[in-house]
Structures are given as C-alpha cells and as structure tokens.
C-alpha cells in the first residue's frame, strides 16, 4: 500500500510541477502587463487565481515553504485586487517571490522533496508591503485560512471568465514530446504498410479489399496530417518570458522601455522553437542593454524618453522571419571598423572600402563582442557570436540593419528546416522534388502550340508572360540530372519569386501540393545550397526540398536572367568593361545581326502576317484590343505575306509599337562596347556580339515613326522648351542607352562621363533643370556629387535623381541624406521617366 501511495504522490508531484511551471510563466507575463495597466481587474483576477491555485496545491502536497511564500504573495495581490494602488516596488517584490518559487520548484524536481530552508526574508517584505498598501475598510477578502483549504473567496467580477477558462483547459491535455515523436514514427510506418497493401491490391484487379483499403488509405493520410500538426506551436511560447526580462532590465538600467510583440501566433516546429528561445532572449536583452539609450540622452536627441523594442515574427518565402528592432542609438560603423582593425580582423585599407553593412557583420565575430572595451565601443553586446552560432546550427541566418541615432534591427531568418511547410511536388528527370509553396507565384503550362511557349533561343530560354520576359532555368540542368529528353515541347513552368528576383523553373511534371515536415539536410550534404532539406512524402519516399534562395543564387550566377546582369554589375564594379548586358539579337533586312537592349523590349510577339493592315499608308495590327502601329527596321525588311511575322513590341504608358523584324535570333549576355560614330538613322553604333559585328538599334529613332506626337506627348509639355537634363554615368553604355530614351521622351539631354565633368559643366555656366546621376561611379560617386551640388547656391535647388543597381535601404537612406530627390533602379526606364516628370513638374510649379 505504501508503495502505491508513493507512486500516486510521484504522479501528483509531476503533474503539479508541470502545471505550476506553466502557471508561473503566465503570471510573469501578466504581472508585467499589470504594472502597465494597474486598473485592469481582469488581469489582477487572473494573477490572483493562479497564485491561489499554486498555494492550494502546495497545501495538499504538504510543501510548507512554497505554501507560506505563495500565501504571503497572495495576500499582497489580494490587496491590490481590492483597490490598493499598485507600486513598482510591490510588483518587483512579487516577481522576486516568483523567482524564489521557481527555485524551490527546481529543487523539488531534482530531489522530489522540498529543500529545508527559510523564506522569512521575502515573506516579511511581502507582509510589510501588504500592510502598507492595505486599503482601510476594505473587506478582508484575501485573508484566506492559512491551510489553504480551497475556500477561496470568489471574486465577483471574473466569475464568468473562470468557467470560460476551465473550458479552454478541458480542451487541451498535456502530452509528452517523446510520445508525439513516437506517434510520428508509427504513422510513417503505417503509411509505408498501406502503400505496400495498395501495391498488392493493384495487382489483383477485382479485389474485395479495394474499398476498405481506400478508406484505410484516406484515414492514414488524415492521421499523418493530424500528428504532424501536433508538432506546431506558436512562437509566442518562446516569447513568454521576454516582457518580464525587459521590464527587469528597464528597472535595473533606469531606462523606460516599451516592449511590443507582433505575430506571436506564427507557428513553427517546436524543435526550432526550443532552439531559438535562448538566442532571442539574448538579442532582446542586448537591445535593452546596449541599443536603447538613457532617457536623458534620448531627450537630448529629440526622441521620446521611452525606448521601444519591437519583436515581430512572420512567414516569408518558406522561412520564418523574426525581427528584433529597437529605436536606440544604432551601431557606430566607424567604431566597429576601428575595432576590427584593432583586433586584426581587417586592414585599414580593407575597412576603408567597406560599406557600413559589411562592417556591421563584425559584431558577430567570436571574440569581437565579448571583450568589454569593444562592447562599450561598438555599442552592442556580449556574445552575439554565440547567437549567430545557435542560429547557424539550425541553418538560419541573421542580418543587421542600423541607422545611427535611429536604431538597429536584427533579422533572423530560419529556413525551412524542421518546420512544416506547404510544398509543390514536381518532377524532373524522373525524380520528385518539393518546392516551397511560399516562393511559388504561379504555374504555367507550356506546349508547342499554346499561347505560352518557351522561346528557346540558343542557350537562353525565356517565357513571354503578360508584359514580361521571364528568364527560365531548367530544374534538371540546374541539378545536373538531365535525362536527354527534350522538355521544350510540353512542360510546366513554376514561376518563382525570391526577393525581387522572378524567374521560371522548367519541370517535367507538377503533381500536387503537400504539407511536408522539413527535415534538415544531412550535415555532410549541406554544402549543396540548392537544397533546403529533405522530407518523407505521404507515400514514404524521401525527396529533396529545393531551397528557393539557393536556386535564386544559382540562377544569379548563371547567364540566363536579366537580373543576373544587374547583380553582376554589383559584383563586377572593377571596370565598365566587366559588366555584362542582356541584349536581344535579331535580323532585319540584312544578314548582319542587330541588337537592342533587352530591358527596352516589352514583349516578343509573333503575329499572323495576314492580320497586318495598311491604314492611311501606315502599317497597323489589331493587338490586344487596340490598333498598334508597326514600323519596319529599315526598308529592306520584307513583311511576310503569310505565316507568322515576328515583332518586337515596345510599350510605354499604354502605347505600344511593333518593330517588324525578320527573325529573332538570340538573347545574349555580353560585355558590351559600343563603337559609336554611326551616321545612319536608327543605329546607335555597332558592337561585337558573339564574335559578330552587330548593329545596336536606336529605339528612340523608331518611336516617333509610330506616333508623330510621341516625343511631345511623352514629354508632356509640347509648347515649351524642353527640360534640360544632365545625365551622368561613367559607363558609356548607359549614357548611350538612356540618352535616346530621354530624348525620345522629350528632354534635352547632356551626357557627362563623370561627376567632375558634370561639375565642370556647371562651372562653365551651363544650366540644367534636373540631374540624373549614376550613384556608383569611380572617383566621386553620385552621393558625393549631390552633396557637392548642394553646397553651391547656383546648383543647390536642382532636383537630382539617383540611378543605381544597388537598391538597399542603406543607399536610399544615404541618398535621402545628401539630398537626392528620387531614386530609380538603373534598368527601370519607365520609372525614370515618371520620376523626371514628377520632379520637373515641381520645377515648373516652382518657376
């Protein structure tokens, strides 16, 4: 019998411990909220009930120390509930008590008995506080019998809530994690067995097992799904302790801090949850400790005295993003650079060239942040290297952004690993792969004769999709598992978006979407960046999960995408010759190839030659519900009498023009050097493309041929003298590409090859209405140039539009500081014209 009793007690104790730990976590959070809203009776009622429950259970299990402590705390809380004013000291005292309770519980867990000892110190303080705040004449509600026999006075207000809460409690039960893991394994086994059965039944045509087996199959699938879901938990579970930590730090450091949490309901795998708990705590602590300034400093900087730390979580592109942002002092790039040099991590010359963002990375270097003097210098704290190591371990990344004086934000990106995601199952060369659904924009079916078809022009493949030319890659060639079959005739294209990169992935077949449990890739295969993990499918097979980011990076380095050219420019800034451009090569009128910059072309089109009409001596075609004018590249081009007629369509602001060509040849990536000096209209110059002399066509020449009013109309001010634009770019290609575009839009363009040249023009008395400048230039860059312009009263007011392929928030911010009016990506032709219009409109108003 005695044995039986011990067993029962053990069981009870275990339940008590689990339950109490949870209750205490809740109290922690509630108390912090309570301090902020002392008049919230609901919160107070809940805290009271929790403490009371702990006390009651302690009495039952004969845990005198715990019981005495909770009793004293309960009395104090009871006084507050009865209307006594809440003081910060009292809350701190209660929190200290809760810490002590935790300590006792830990002991209890280890030894299965309460540690001998005394909590007189705390109890006395609690009693003193209770006496101080006691409301005269208040009913002695909370003075419960010390035995805690359960005759707790019922609070009148929260009664209804009690029943609601207990209902919630009845809806969930506690299950050990191991049990879930085992369930998962068993379900996988079940799935395998089912599949074997299905296989057997398939061989016997008219089996009576068929119907019940189908049912078994469905039930199994549902069971699997259900078990998988049990592993998911809201990230808020890992955040529970944080408000308390921030509150304590806030008190300790004497900095008022507002702590916001967003997206606590974002679900992630409990394994990941456990692993990120500590790093998150660390980061938040860091923000409070080092990020947020003291109130006096903040006030002096014109900021509200109360600092804010914002913690947010959301799902994005198959990842879970967690952001910890503060509005504190931000990182000091100069000091970090100096510290990096002092530590021998980089040379003076290296840090000189380094951007702020690059320098920030040093705060994650082991040893960098642990040393005290560095901490005080860098303004960021201890052990960020440990945080990064933890995040690396689960295959995540951490990034930092910071604006001096405005705050910092750390973005933790945890990839697919371990979490359950919805994935599209596709086939390539006979193998199946999973593509995370979040990165998938749409699916396009291509057939030889359908509307959508792959334009396979030598190596580069593109798809015409609405208004865009979508670069394509073939999954099996990316994975080097090509099976020799030609997929161009009939295939699926998975249109994916990763960051600002959109591309199509050609696969052999698309099956279905499945919720998959992402398992991390074997550590020895993690070097394969195209895979983000692997998973076991419903039918028991293991398949690889494509990592959208890895794929995007791989595409970025292959020569298929137009975006590749942009990113190539970022990395290959050494000289203008090193940058490659995407060009569309075609033939028109002569065997000599012609080329036009791909980004200028809106669409490639093939129309039925019979649909071309002559209207008033001009060529037109019915196109997308409108009449579109057609222009011949030169008079040698013969319009086909029947069959398909290839066109290059240029569209701008709702108007389209078709340029009739003989043949579309290729899309090439070239390091382009245009030899100018062409006297022929419609030709910018010539260049050597793929070893052949190629004419580079000047689109600006053709636009007015299609619309006589194009120039005036596009400029928007036909009756005035054209706006004078100063165009600065070190790359002749861009000058040559943009100048005609701007001219075609009705502007008077003066190109300059460097900032110095532009300044010289100003010096020489030239006047311009607006400046368009490349931001990344050797020597004086666009930022410095703008700053220079702002210094002179003559040029200070001229609007400046910056052009860059580096569109990071840092550059935008930097541009804003030096006085850039607008900011346009280099290839964004229509964006540039829109920006010009907007800025010059302002000039006109001002004039």
């Amino acid at each position: 019998m005695a044995l039986q009793k011990v067993f029962v007690m053990d069981e009870l104790l275990r339940d008590f411990l689990t339950e109490t730990h949870e209750s205490i976590d809740v109290v922690d959070v509630e108390l912090v909220r309570f301090e902020q809203e002392p008049n919230n009776a609901q919160i107070l009622g809940r805290i009271f009930r929790l403490v009371h429950t702990i006390k009651g259970t302690c009495g039952f299990l004969s845990l005198p120390r715990l019981e005495a402590l909770t009793h004293a705390a309960e009395t104090l809380i009871g006084n507050f509930r009865d209307g006594a004013p809440v003081t910060s000291e009292a809350v701190s005292l209660i929190l200290a008590t809760i810490d002590r309770i935790k300590l006792l519980l830990d002991e209890l867990e280890r030894n299965h008995a309460e540690q001998a000892g005394d909590d007189r110190d705390l109890i006395e303080q609690l009693e003193r506080a209770a006496a101080q705040v006691a409301v005269p004449g208040a009913p002695k509600g909370p003075q419960v019998a010390p035995s805690g026999s359960g005759q707790a006075p019922e609070a009148d207000a929260p009664q209804a809530e009690t029943s609601a809460e207990s209902q919630v409690a009845r809806q969930s039960i506690r299950v050990h994690v191991d049990t879930l893991e085992q369930l998962m394994t068993m379900v996988s086994e079940l799935v395998l067995t089912r599949n074997q059965l299905l296989e057997i039944v398939r061989r016997h045509e008219d089996s009576e097992f068929k119907a019940p087996l189908q049912r078994l199959s469905n039930v199994t699938a549902e069971l699997q799904e259900g078990v998988m879901k049990t592993r998911m938990q809201p990230i808020g579970n890992a955040w529970q302790k944080l408000p308390r930590i921030v509150r304590d730090l806030s008190n300790e450091l004497g900095k008022p801090i507002e702590f916001e949490m967003h997206g606590a309901e974002t679900e992630l795998d409990r394994q990941v949850l456990d692993l990120i708990k500590d790093p998150l705590t660390h980061m938040v602590r860091n923000s409070a400790d080092h990020g947020i300034e003291h109130p006096a400093v903040r006030a002096a900087a014109g900021k509200p005295e109360k600092g804010t730390i914002r913690l947010s979580a959301w799902h994005e592109g198959g990842h879970i993003i967690i952001e910890i942002a503060d509005d504190g002092r931000g990182l000091d790039a100069q000091k970090i650079k100096a510290a990096a040099v002092a530590r021998g991590l980089a040379s003076e010359a290296e840090v000189e060239k380094m951007s702020d963002v690059q320098a920030f990375k040093y705060i994650f270097t082991p040893g960098f942040s642990t040393a005290n003097q560095i901490t005080s210098v860098s303004g960021r704290g201890v052990g960020l290297d440990v945080v990064r190591a933890n995040i690396d371990e689960i295959g995540g990344t951490i990034d930092v952004k910071s604006v001096p004086g405005r705050g910092s934000s750390f973005t933790i990106k945890i990839p697919l690993t371990l979490a359950i995601v919805s994935a599209l199952i596709v086939e390539a060369a006979g193998d199946r792969f999973a593509i995370p659904q979040l990165a998938v924009v749409e699916l396009v079916r291509v057939r030889a004769n359908s509307e959508h078809r792959i334009e396979r022009i030598k190596d580069a493949a593109v798809l015409r999709l609405r208004n865009k030319l979508l670069p394509l890659v073939t999954l099996k060639s990316m994975l080097r598992i090509a099976d020799g079959r030609d997929e161009a005739q009939s295939a699926f294209i998975v249109v994916m978006q990763v960051g600002n990169q959109t591309f199509g992935v050609v696969v052999d077949a698309v099956f279905h979407t499945e919720e998959i449990v992402v398992k991390p890739m074997c550590s020895r295969l993690r070097n394969i960046t195209l895979f983000g993990g692997n998973t076991i499918l419903g039918d028991g097979a293991v398949i690889m999960i494509i990592d959208p980011n890895g794929l995007a990076n791989a595409i970025g380095s292959s020569a298929a995408a137009q975006h590749a050219a942009e990113s190539a420019r970022e990395t290959e800034q050494r000289s203008e010759d090193a940058s490659t451009e995407s060009l569309l090569v075609f033939r028109a009128g002569s065997p000599q190839p012609k080329a036009v910059h791909l980004s200028l072309v809106t669409r490639l089109e093939e129309i039925d030659a019979k649909t071309i009409e002559g209207v008033d001596g001009r060529l037109m075609v019915q196109y997308r519900g409108q009449l579109m004018p057609l222009v011949l590249v030169n008079e040698d081009v013969r319009i086909k009498e029947k069959g398909v007629q290839p066109l290059l369509v240029f569209a701008d602001e709702g108007r389209s023009m078709g340029l009739i060509v003989d043949e579309i040849v290729d899309i090439v990536e070239e390091r382009l050097r245009i030899e100018l000096a062409s006297q022929r209209p419609g030709v910018l110059g010539s260049a050597i493309i793929k070893g052949q002399a190629t004419e580079v066509v000047d689109i600006a020449h053709y636009l007015p041929l299609a619309f006589e009013d194009w120039l005036a109309w596009a400029g928007g001010r036909p009756d005035r003298s054209p706006v004078r634009v100063l165009l600065i770019d070190d790359a002749p290609f861009f000058r040559n590409m943009l100048a005609p575009v701007l001219k075609a839009a009705g502007y008077a363009v003066t190109p300059a090859a460097s900032a110095q040249e532009a300044l010289a023009l100003f010096e020489g008395g030239e006047r311009f209405d607006i400046v368009v400048t490349d931001l990344d230039m050797p020597g004086m860059d666009g930022f410095d140039f703008t700053a220079e312009m702002r210094k002179s009263p003559r040029t200070a007011a001229i609007p400046v539009i910056g052009l860059s392929s580096l569109a990071s928030p840092e550059t935008i911010e930097r541009g804003r500081k030096v006085g850039l009016h607008d900011y346009v990506a280099k290839f964004d032709r229509s964006g540039l014209i829109a920006a010009l219009k907007e800025q010059t409109a302002e000039v006109n108003v001002a004039a």
Binding site: M186, E189, L192, R480, S523, F531, G540, A541
Partner: protein, 151 residues
C-alpha cells in the same frame, strides 16, 4: 580468445571481397536498402536517401568510398545503420557477416603497406585465421569528400 578482460564485439561485413568490422556499439541496425532517392550534385559516394521507419537515412556506398568499382546492377545489397551526431547513415555493403568478439589488445595498427584507400578509413586490423579484419573508423568513413580526392 577470451583470455583478456576487454573484448570488443564487431559486426562484420564484406565489401569487395575484404572483411571489415564495425564495433557493435556503433551499429543501430542492419537492413535492406529500399527506394533510394538520389541526391543530385552530391559526391558519388552518397548513394542516396531512404526512409527507414520514418527516419531519413543517408546511404553511403562503401564500394565507392573505398575506391572500388561499383556493385553489379540488380545484385541485392545490405546496409549497416549507424548514427553520428544525431544523424542516421546507412553504409551499403556487399554482404553482412557474423558478429565476432575479439580482444581489444589484439588489434594492431594499420600495416604500413595497407592500401591507402583502406588505411584512410581504418582504425586498425585484427588478424583472424587466414583472414584480415579491417576495423572501420566511423568518423573517417563518414568524412566523405574530405579525403576522397586525395587518392
């Protein structure tokens, strides 16, 4: 043989005619590898991934790992399941042998003339009657890629 206090039990296996032993303490299970999923872009030693009772197992082709010619098509193979740092691996072998107990003291270091491809993954040898048992060092076996190119 059981004269010394300390003995080690080995799971034995043949790969390309050579006898190998793995300390039984490191072996999880022995199974027939089924439904291998190939891993594109991985080193050839990685035979693929498979699902073993809900666990994902990375299969390593020991023939290729040891620099031997690949096994004949369609010949049934066996796999020895081992675990390393919480991950499961399956070593594909030609045939599984018996479990033998050998005194730890009788293990000799690699003979100097041992084939480099073997000594790379070997933790020593035991002389058996007319046979040589090469003890596999799990960590080094799993270190695919690090030395693969060296030979």
């Amino acid at each position: 043989m059981s004269t010394t206090d300390h003995t080690i039990e080995y799971v034995t296996a043949t790969i390309g005619g050579q006898l190998f032993g793995l300390p039984i303490s490191g072996v999880q299970d022995v199974f027939m590898p089924e439904r291998l999923t190939r891993v594109p872009l991985a080193a050839p030693e990685f035979a693929g991934m498979l699902n073993l009772r809900g666990r994902i197992v990375t299969a390593i082709d020991m023939r290729l790992r040891l620099g031997l010619p690949p096994a004949e098509e369609g010949k049934p193979r066996m796999a020895i399941g081992i675990e390393s740092k919480g991950e499961s691996y399956g070593l594909l072998i030609d045939a599984i042998g018996e479990v033998i107990r050998l005194p730890a003291a009788s293990r000799e270091s690699n003979p100097v003339n041992l084939d480099a491809r073997l000594s790379r993954v070997s933790a020593g040898v035991h002389r058996l009657d007319g046979n040589l048992l090469v003890v596999l060092d799990m960590d080094r076996v799993l270190d695919v890629g690090a030395h693969a190119e060296a030979a």
